[in-house]
Symmetry: C2
Subunit: 592 residues, 2 copies
């Protein structure tokens, strides 16, 4: 070993020992008579001190030849410092070197290896191996390692078996776009990379495996957004002989264990919310419940609720009159918002990605009066009624949107999150975890003019809703659930269909012909005939779960070697062209 100790472990109790440490030169100060080297490795930083008068010429010469990020090995005596530092864990000691060996020189790195670096995203990605030297990035990956170990040990104790499912599988038309792999031995045919091990884990249940998990890479060839990667990692789980309740309990147990073991936080039992309530009260199937600020409907044409605000004598407000839905939130203590702040909020909701046409507000002043942006149409009694509906107090600000139902809910959800952020209600060190349950089985696609599976085609309808499949497919609820933490969907799953006929009916509903269903998923439907147990499961997005635990917005710095938004690895310059001979062997041509 080219070291006896790491750069993070020496303490005053080691004083007097001769040790060897190895690492990277973090910094170098030369005061003439004194030279200091800060030597860094994964475990910490240790100060190496050279008194030029007492040290050998060789040691001094080598020390003066060093530059940032040189890799060196230092042998010397551990000495208790005269003036200790509490900035680093080894701050009680320093090393007086007898010998310094340059293991490898280094040219100047293109950005500083510090927590706050001067390197932008692009250059950090190109030199990712240097970026990984930064504490903050390494700590993220150490967190990820810890999460994986704790996940495995927790599930192992519950008799879950980690089973590796294949990466070279079969392309299926349902779901997102597959990455495909041309087969050389079966020319003209392709493997696909799995979007998830869904059918394999179900077959493991048919195979009697009972409790399965895997921390596994999955792949989707989608157009990338800032926070999506073409390859990503799931904690993928499945159980047999269970009902929804068992899955929810088991996996909230896992997440609570992770919070305790990795972050030392006790998370209470998870609350549950139906999809219908999530949409009604938060306009969102993954509400951030770190703060309340629930939606209050003033008018809803689809439920024929009364027009709470109608002025006794005043003019009708055309925007509300026309609207399908009038819905708002009450921002506690925001009545003092300035005109400028309110204009900002109006601009916010009118941005194309939000899409509202305007924002109505009503300030509940400290003196008990209410001042709204629509005073022309509504009198004080009307506004009083609003305040009651919102359960508003003096000092609160009511914000109201109106328009088409779905769009307005979505817009208000964004506004709610924005207000939560502005009011400091979304602390990244506070964790609010809950389940959203009772998702619809199907959603109608205007684009394809057919029903699509909201979760996936293997999700079981609720037994009590099965009769609705033929008459009112949109009303059928699924035994499907998502785990939401701080407004982020970290996991989701469902009880699966385990009956061949129901599965066939589902494929039919999704527009598969009998032949297509058999060709694509025949193996699964056949398996259901040989004694398939009731089963269900879920998958967590592991990259996202880690970034959430790490208190970060993005997932990239929780992935050692991520790809950019064009799906490129800029460090290794991939994808790249391949040789004609390779194409020939595979029996494919590039299109001109």
């Amino acid at each position: 070993m080219l070291r006896t100790h790491t750069c993070g472990e020496l303490r005053a109790s080691n004083a007097g020992q001769t040790v060897t440490i190895s690492g990277w030169v973090q910094g170098l100060r030369d005061k003439g008579s004194l030279l200091w080297i800060d030597l860094r490795d994964r475990y910490g930083i240790t100060q190496v001190t050279i008194e030029t008068e007492n040290a050998s010429k060789e040691v001094v010469d080598v020390a003066r030849s060093l530059g940032r990020e040189f890799v060196i090995s230092v042998t010397g005596k551990v000495t208790e410092r005269y003036s200790k530092s509490n900035k680093i864990a080894t701050g009680d000691i320093e090393i007086y070197p007898d010998n310094i060996v340059v293991l490898n020189a280094a040219i100047v790195p293109p950005f500083t290896i510090e927590d706050e670096t001067d390197g932008g995203d692009d250059i950090r990605m190109k030199y990712r191996y240097l970026d990984l030297r930064r504490n903050v990035v390494r700590k993220n990956l150490e967190l990820r390692h810890r999460m994986a170990i704790e996940t495995r040990n927790f599930l192992d104790k519950l008799n879950f078996l980690e089973v590796e499912t294949p990466v070279l599988i079969k392309s299926t038309p349902e779901g997102a776009r597959d990455f495909v792999v041309p087969s050389r031995m079966n020319q003209g045919e392709f493997y696909a990379l799995p979007q998830s091990p869904q059918t394999f884990k179900q077959l493991l249940m048919v195979g009697g495996f009972d409790r399965y998990y895997q921390i596994v890479k999955c792949f989707r060839d989608e157009d990338l957004r800032a926070d999506r990667q073409p390859e990503f990692t799931q904690i993928d789980c499945e159980m047999a002989f269970v009902e929804q309740e068992d899955i929810l309990n088991t996996f909230e147990g896992l997440v609570r264990h992770l919070f305790k073991a990795v972050k030392g936080i006790d998370i209470p039992t998870l609350s549950r919310m139906t999809y219908a309530d999530a949409m009604k009260y938060y306009g969102n199937d993954k509400p951030d419940i770190r703060f309340e600020m629930k939606f209050v409907e003033l008018k809803n044409n689809s439920t024929n609720s009364p027009l709470l605000w109608r002025a006794a004598g005043g003019e009708a407000f055309p925007v509300f009159e026309k609207a399908q839905l009038v819905v708002g939130i009450c921002a506690k203590g925001a009545a003092e918002y300035t005109r400028k702040q309110l204009d900002e909020l109006t601009e916010f909701v009118k941005r194309p990605q939000i899409g509202a046409t305007g924002l109505v507000y009503a300030r509940y002043n400290a003196d008990g009066t209410i001042k709204s942006s629509v005073d022309k149409f509504f009198n004080a009694d009307d506004l009083k009624k609003w305040a009651e509906a919102f359960n508003a107090q003096p000092g609160d600000l009511i914000l109201i949107l109106a328009g088409d139902e779905n769009k307005t809910r979505k817009a208000l959800s964004e506004l709610r999150l924005e207000m939560g952020t502005r009011l400091g209600l979304r602390d990244k060190n506070t964790f609010a975890c809950h389940w959203v349950i009772d998702f619809p089985l199907l959603e109608w696609s205007e684009e394809t003019q057919r029903w699509h599976a909201m979760h996936h085609p293997f999700t079981s309808p609720k037994p009590e809703d099965i009769a609705l499949i033929d008459t009112k497919p949109g009303a059928v609820r699924a035994n499907a659930y998502d785990m939401v933490i701080n407004g982020v969907e970290v996991g989701g799953g469902s009880i699966r269909i385990h009956n061949k006929e129901i599965q066939a009916r589902m494929f039919n509903l999704l527009g598969f012909t009998k032949e297509e269903a058999q060709a694509q998923f025949g193996f699964l439907m056949n398996a259901f005939e040989f004694g398939a147990p009731p089963h269900g499961g879920l998958a967590f997005g592991f990259d996202r779960l880690c970034s959430l635990f790490g208190g970060a917005e993005g997932i990239r710095d929780f992935i050692a070697f991520p790809k950019n938004n064009s799906g490129r690895d800029v460090m290794i310059d991939s994808p790249s062209t391949i040789a004609q001979a390779q194409l020939d062997e595979l029996g494919i041509n590039l299109k001109k």
Copy 2:
């Protein structure tokens, strides 16, 4: 939960409890007044007993409607058996059911779900989910799970970090053939699936990660042999600031831990053998040292060893005269081999895959006489000299091959293994683990007429041999090592090059132009300029390691969903054709 207990856990102490168990009907016996159901799950088998006179009509009717592999749930009272069975762990009890629920019916499986099945390989693979229900197959995958957990926890304790490296990487011309993945977003370009995470783990070392591991899928598009899979799993490891000694110690520690934790076996410290000795004494770079039977050379033209056998007065034996190498083994206690057995051995070495032209034998009879197949050419004194060279005793059989050096060593190695098997010296429950070290850096390929890296292009030459690179490349030894267990190479690795110039020289030696080396591996050579620490590592073949621990020959039954020799998954029928639209999106065409 559709059960209160598993089918493996009820004991006499549970007698009197009302329980629910769920599982598959393993068997059903109907004696009229008594009905027995053997109910099976992953954890065991429990007997359900129905006294038709005392049970409800419904229970009896349901029980009589069952068939093999039906999935049922049974609720009833645990009762201590009158006549206990010690064949199953639950043999002390039986359950008298109050209720039986059919969770799913089953059609008759195409083969029996028993340890000894009537199903051949092909049908077992097609219905792999049924095959997985068999105890023997499930136990293999349980072993694999345990191996993975123990590996991770052992390495975690030593501060190794598991880091996921990318699956979509870049195709490189060195090594085996890559699987490639066409990029839709970068048309005309391809990702490759990794043959190993080699360069990424080295970059992690450059990134200061120090100790890395991963249990990871790797991919090779090679023509498959019985025991090769296009996707396979490695325990992949790398360490920085180490020398070869450190790696050997760390990872023999891992393997010894696995033997202890998984199989309860204490494995002694691993012995080490140089590649040169392995070839000299066993004709094989992965010798099975469960038994001795070392090669003894009677003639070796390349070392000018004396002709030990030359008869004082007799005729010269032309086969030996012409041979580059005359080498043999001594099979202890095999002097009694019959003519027929010796003929079998001769046939064995003459098979085309072995390729010897004949076999010379000499029996050291119990009476002290020696009888050889070449008595015409050698007298008793000659044969006595042979016996001395082989350290043979009365009762032993000497077997000798002659011919071209490499071919003869290889053939004798096969014969040695065959004799080891015949003499019962290769017990699969005995484990002989050792290291083979000091591999050559390079090997000459007649086909490409250039040097190839014996391990891979990143392997470091031994510092003391570097001077030979230009003058005698074939003599340069590498800091490379393999771990061998029972004649199987279970892992291998090397100390890597961490210096840009040496790496460039290596690529040059391997026939890369400067431009090619830069285009393919520039990212790695550039990384070496920014302070790369000395580092090295190894990878274990996880599938093989598991099969070895499981005492099996093949790896397939240690993989949940393996592919056949044509790279096909016959269960899901993959690879398969894909839609023209998919090809269009990817910008590729199939060749006619």
